[in-house]
């Protein structure tokens, strides 16, 4: 039912778009109609698929690397006190400098190929993923840690055992929100990278088509990018849900409200 509603809305928007183009007679190099875009999609299917594969690979690699780096630095910052002092400012600075601003540098250093785009996507998602996981690692139910402390009292390595078996797991839902956010913004990094300098990818194709007034092809590339981004987000979301199947429904009411405080 929900899917049908979505399809109807989508069809309505496309129809309105076609109507607008037909009624106003706007020039096709300003706004092509959906039919023209569809024609471009079919005509350039091969090229679109090839460039889409490049962009998809950049996004996927960036998401993987960004998640790995974010996870690692959050664990270091959450577990080691010195690391907190050294890495936290770096983390903040990495976000204070807009990734867009260093995009030309990355292309200069890492070349026109995929590497600079992967670096861009990694950088843009690193901060949200690391900070959400750091938050998650900090907000562990204190009762769990108390329990673990009585179980490991007087043993070497107790702190790491508690961190590994309790804090990290307890922080995973927060990490998942970070990764979801990352999946939504990673395409931005890849596309910006392609705009600044590249010879493949949907961003490159869009610039190329734009320069030659092939606006229908540009819209087709945009449509493919949108489908790609949505598919990525849905896949990541489903994976997170699957991995976190143990989450209780709704928020656990585990606040410490013993009768002593209620009276």
């Amino acid at each position: 039912m929900r899917r049908l509603g979505f399809l109807l809305t989508f069809a309505g928007i496309v129809a309105a778009w076609q109507g607008l183009v037909s009624v106003t007679g706007v020039a096709p190099y300003i706004l092509p109609g959906p039919l023209a875009v569809g024609r471009a999609l079919v005509l350039h299917a091969g090229a679109l698929l090839g460039h889409a594969a490049t962009t998809a690979a950049e996004i996927a690699l960036g998401l993987g690397l960004g998640t790995g780096l974010g996870f690692a630095s959050a664990v270091a910052i959450g577990y080691l006190r010195p690391a907190r002092r050294w890495l936290m400012p770096l983390l903040v600075v990495s976000q204070a400098v807009p990734v867009f601003a260093i995009a030309p540098l990355l292309v200069l250093w890492l070349g026109y190929g995929m590497v600079s785009k992967v670096a861009m996507a990694t950088l843009i998602i690193y901060f949200p993923i690391a900070t959400s996981f750091i938050d998650g690692l900090r907000r562990t139910e204190p009762g769990w840690l108390d329990l673990a402390r009585t179980m490991t009292a007087g043993r070497p390595g107790a702190a790491w055992a508690c961190f590994r078996h309790i804090r990290i797991h307890a922080g995973l839902p927060a990490l998942a929100s970070g990764v979801r956010l990352g999946a939504a913004i990673a395409p931005i990094g890849a596309i910006i990278g392609e705009w600044v300098g590249s010879n493949a990818g949907l961003g490159y194709l869009m610039l190329h088509a734009n320069a030659r007034m092939k606006v229908d092809l540009m819209f087709a590339a945009l449509a493919v990018l949108a489908v790609l981004a949505v598919a990525l987000f849905v896949a990541v979301d489903a994976t997170c849900r699957r991995l976190l199947h143990w989450l209780p429904e709704g928020l656990p009411t585990e606040a410490r409200t013993d009768w002593e405080e209620q009276r």
Binding site: W144, D146, L147, T150, G154, L247, W259
Partner: protein
Amino acid sequence: MDAPRGPRSLAVVPAVGIRVVGATLTYRGDIVFRDLAVDFDPGLTSCLLGPSGVGKSSLLRMIAGLAPSGGRVMGSDGGPLAGRIAYMDQRDLLLPWLRVIDNVTLGSRLRGTRADRPAARALLERVGLQGNAADYPRTLSGGMRQRVALARTLMEDRPVVLMDEPFSALDALTRLRLQDLSAELLAGRTVVMVTHDPFEALRLADRIYVLSGRPAELGEALLIPNYPPRDPTAGGLAALHHELLDRLKAADAGSEPERRPAARRHAAGAP
């Protein structure tokens, strides 16, 4: 009900008592208790009662090594208590990402030792959850979760068991069943249980202590005859019930001036 000494000597671990000397706690500049000394006898169940905020849970947390004591907490044999304690909270504290069986064996997972799964299964059977070993906690009811917590506590197989209102979040019937079960399964261990329920204390305790005043002091222990779980409505316990209620009333009256400002704050905060 003169039970033979039999069931109480089933314990596998040698009993060790708890000795607390000079325990001191200040909270926001206020002395909660100072130089508190108490001995909890080995192999017996002691219940701690007292008015709200008097420091019962804090004392328990000190013994558990979760809060600094300011004094000394040790076993009755003079050795440290670390590693000889199992702790059970009012909340089940089950880890939602672990199956029931893995929650029961959490201790060995944390210590990096091999989990004795047959023993864990046997304990789950004792608490009536043999069919739920592979379930995740979110699928269980509150009573079932607290039974898993009890199995996890027993799995630790420690001579000292500290319980902070372990059954207070349960409905009356489930609470009765769990009290019976834990009395049976914890027999022979040194148990210190914080509770607010005189009825529960009379059912389960060999010794009942009332913590009262500010700085708080522990009254003399009320000795309860026979073995738990008891029927508190049985004839012999009626007098003890009266005595306990009298002590609690006295303790509550003692903390009255301290509680009144809190009540006023509540009233002021209400719209």
